[in-house]
């Protein structure tokens, strides 16, 4: 088997056209964040769960730490922030989202202190485009499911800012499922955890009011959730159409609109965007248009996104005629259970809390395995590609056991490749190339044997 060239690769991937327009929405959102102070808005830095509809209803500007690190990495602008983190003492094996973002915090804090006139701007002379414009926080809110590092990361940011910026922690119980009958959205653990998180979100409201000096707008919150529910339903429907062969869209397309569903403002524009996504996917199905020209293999992607190499990876798989049809990151997060959202409910936070709890890293391995194998059946894949995400142990935790289960229970092909979320140095292209070739050959052999 000869390795396809990158020019083949570029030709073979047929991305959803609408995601290009969607890119503008994301850029506009960040522009808006950068100008928040000028508008007199309070700025919240948060990590983990999508609490943005709450911040939106509180009248704040919100900056998701991981999203900012991911954006820096995707634009290859992460270097200086990571260097600042390293000089401050963060070891290179630490979660690269955290150390990129903490690098920004260190720079920001230093600059504020130097200026001596309150919060400044995250800045590096060589990174004017993006990092230098991030406003420093008025408040931190942490609600990290499934990863202890996520919670600690904000606590360290709080310390880097000299404990001067207020912080609120929403604790998200890990769904371990001790008892029979407990599991995905089931059992006493689920009921209790949902209420526990919802109760904390109710505590968050007066805290935010104390920051903004304004009453929380419950009507706006309910409206935000109605938009999010609609947007998520449209996205879910479009994703499920990738069950078709050839797949009308790929995992890379769903990566392309993660930002939208994860943190863009909840409004009609968001709903319209996902209506457009669904329409395009439906049209492709009707026309028999493939996302990967000559689709020959279908695989599932398990791992956090490798933002530094997003384009390269998407082209590489397509070049091998591989349609990556779904993934744990894209399909098991981001309001993936919209039926739980009830904007008119007596407790409108319950559905929010439940979706937040259903983070793909927040389940014990056997639950995660069941979910992934369910997806593999649904999308009828030949195998699973595991992105062994070097500095994100939360995502890699179940991978080896899942690979074993996928082989034993479904006879699926599995392969691992090394990389990272936001540190390019951990990615080894030759390793991926040779393992991918080998796994595809294995699939060919299996097919030939019938």
């Amino acid at each position: 088997m000869t390795a396809p060239t990158s020019s083949d690769a570029a030709d073979k991937l047929n991305r959803l056209a609408i995601n290009k327009a969607g890119g503008r929405m994301v850029a506009d959102y960040w522009e808006d964040v950068f100008l928040a102070r000028e508008r007199g808005q309070k700025v919240v830095w948060y990590n983990g769960s999508a609490l943005n509809p709450i911040f939106q209803a509180a009248g704040m500007a919100w900056c998701h730490g991981e999203a900012f690190s991911a954006r820096l990495a995707a634009q290859h602008l992460e270097g200086p922030a990571q260097l600042a983190g390293s000089e401050y003492g963060y070891v290179g094996e630490l979660c690269s989202y955290a150390r990129t973002h903490l690098g920004c915090a260190v720079l920001s804090q230093e600059r504020s202190a130097g200026a001596g006139n309150g919060p400044g701007m995250v800045g590096l002379p060589e990174q004017q485009e993006l990092a230098s414009r991030l406003p420093t926080p008025d408040v931190f809110v942490n609600a990290y499911a499934g990863c202890s590092t996520g919670q600690q990361w904000d606590d360290i940011s709080f310390r880097v800012f000299g404990k001067d910026v207020p912080i609120f922690n929403v604790s998200m119980p890990y769904l371990w499922s001790n008892r029979p009958g407990e599991g995905y959205m089931a059992g006493e653990e689920w009921e209790q955890s949902s209420r526990y998180v919802s109760d904390q979100l109710h505590e968050l409201v007066p805290f935010l009011e104390s920051i903004t000096g304004q009453p929380f707008d419950w009507a706006a919150y309910r409206q935000n959730m109605a938009y999010i529910k609609q947007a998520s339903e449209l996205r879910q429907k479009a994703m499920k159409l990738c069950r078709h062969t050839p797949a009308p869209a790929t995992f890379w397309d769903w990566i392309g609109n993660v930002a939208h569903i994860n943190f863009l403002p909840a409004n009609q524009q968001l709903v319209d965007f996902f209506a457009g996504v669904l329409a395009e996917v439906e049209q492709r199905v009707a026309d028999g248009v493939a996302a990967v020209r000559d689709e020959r293999y279908r695989v599932y992607f398990d791992g956090f996104m490798n933002w530094n190499h997003l384009g390269l990876l998407s082209r590489k798989f397509a070049a091998h005629d591989v349609a990556v049809v779904a993934g744990r990151y894209t399909h098991h997060a981001f309001w993936q259970e919209p039926q739980l959202l009830d904007p008119e409910a007596a407790d409108p936070f319950l559905g929010q809390a439940q979706n937040n709890l259903l983070c793909p890293m927040n389940h014990a391995t056997r639950t995660t395995t069941d979910l992934v194998l369910r997806d593999c059946d649904f999308y009828d894949v030949d195998g699973i590609v595991f992105h062994s995400t070097r500095t994100c142990r939360a995502f890699t935790n179940p991978q080896r056991l899942m690979a074993k289960a996928a082989q034993e229970k479904r006879g699926l092909a599995t392969m691992f490749f090394e990389g990272d979320i936001a540190d390019a140095s951990f990615y080894k292209d030759e390793v991926l190339e040779s393992r991918l070739a080998a796994v595809l050959e294995g699939i060919d052999v299996r097919r030939a044997r019938g």
């Binding site: 003492g89 202890s148 590092t149 919670q151 600690q152 922690n169 014990a364 391995t365 142990r393 080896r400």
Partner: protein, 392 residues
């Protein structure tokens, strides 16, 4: 009580044997008593609950074997302790436990415990998440509810409810043991150099494994029989960090062989583990919840978040109190909580001009010569009282 030196040495040797081979002790204990053993994952599950349920609680130790079978179960970029846990599970050495309890949320540990759950399918693995955000107004209530769930689960496992009286008894027995260990620590801080750093580790490590009454009896013999030995003029060091498991004794010995003496530590298998007693009055379950919250205040743990207390402040206070001239930070390679907190420690130590050195450890391979070269450089710097900066 006075004990002759031979008896003391024999008692110490018995504790060393347990620290060297905890599994053998557990097997013997089970044979001897017909009882069941509970594998406890570090760092915050209260052993008192398992003891009150009539079982032997054992804080699972890293073993000495090179990892092999477990390598397929957890990625290579996990801390040595968690990878070794996976290896122990794969090799069947954890089969000596009849159940497991887990209270901590470190993400790597959760991954390893899930491997144990898969590889030791006949033993229940109970996870109750103690609150990790310690400043919340609801943290106390949450800690209490989690402790209750542990007690109930232990009762289910034992086949009979764990009584308040049994809990109170276990608490008193563990407090006595901790107090005695802290006395040895206090004596070391005050200048008694009778026990080396590896020997101090043996005392704490064996306490995590043995039946507590038995441990206390042997510990008393050690304390009563060892003659106090004044410190010499070696450089006084403080050891900090090393979460969840014990650093290799050879590493501790290598540090002292360079011409240093360890005078105190906040290692998990050390000062951190024995730092706090459980209140002996009132409801024992509430007392355990209280212990958990206070323990983090006494020895702030980087796996937990809080607003009021700081590890770095506690560290410099302890350095001052012990008269240490420098700090060796022992960091388990890939230990995320420690990696995240380390810059705060470094900053504070630098502000106070306290010389310090960061040494990372792994399950396999101890580069003694490199470690000693770096420790010697630290000691030299201390002796010369040179401008003080982190030596990395």
């Amino acid at each position: 009580m006075s004990v002759d030196p031979d008896t003391a040495r024999e008692a110490l040797a018995a504790l060393c044997a347990v620290a060297d081979d905890p599994d053998a002790y557990v097997v013997r204990w089970k044979e001897r008593t017909g009882g069941r053993a509970i594998g406890v994952f570090p760092m915050n599950f209260p052993s008192e609950i398992a003891a009150a349920g009539g079982a032997l609680p054992v804080v699972i130790q890293e073993n000495r074997e090179p990892d092999s079978l477990g390598r397929n179960l957890l990625a290579e970029f996990y801390c040595g302790y968690t990878r070794n846990l996976a290896d122990q599970a794969a090799k069947g050495t954890l089969d000596i436990y009849d159940a497991f309890f887990q209270a901590d949320h470190c993400t790597q540990l959760l991954g390893a415990v899930d491997v144990v759950r898969a590889e030791v399918p006949d033993a229940p693995v109970f996870f109750g998440q103690l609150p990790t955000s310690m400043s919340d107004s609801w943290a106390g209530e949450r800690a209490l509810a989690t402790m209750r769930s542990f007690v109930e689960e232990m009762g289910r496992f034992a086949g009979t409810p764990v009584t308040a009286a049994a809990l109170a008894d276990a608490i008193a027995v563990h407090n006595e043991n901790r107090r005695l260990l802290r006395e040895v620590y206090a004596a070391r801080r005050a200048g008694n150099a009778a026990l080396s750093s590896p020997e101090m580790q043996v005392l704490v490590k064996s306490s995590m494994v043995m039946d507590t009454r038995e441990h206390t009896a042997l510990l008393r013999e050690v304390v009563a029989g060892l003659a106090a030995r004044p410190r010499d003029d070696r450089v006084r060091l403080y050891l900090s960090g090393h979460l969840s498991h014990a650093p290799r004794p050879e590493l501790l010995a290598a540090i002292e062989e360079c011409g240093a003496i360890v005078v105190d530590d906040d290692l998990f298998t050390g000062g951190r583990h024995i730092s706090t007693d459980v209140p002996e009055d009132g409801d024992p379950v509430a007392a355990l919840a209280d212990w958990y919250l206070r323990r983090d205040a006494v020895a702030p743990c980087p796996t937990l978040v809080k607003h009021e207390t700081d590890w770095e402040e506690r560290l410099v206070e302890a350095v001052d109190a012990s008269g240490a001239e420098g700090v060796v930070v022992l960091m388990v390679r890939f230990c995320e909580p420690h990696m995240l907190y380390y810059p705060e420690l470094r900053k504070r130590l630098n502000e106070r001009d306290i010389p310090h050195l960061l040494i990372e450890t792994e399950h396999e391979g101890l580069p003694v010569e490199t470690v000693q070269t770096r420790v010697e450089a630290l000691l030299e710097r201390i002796r010369r009282n040179a401008p003080l900066e982190a030596i990395r």
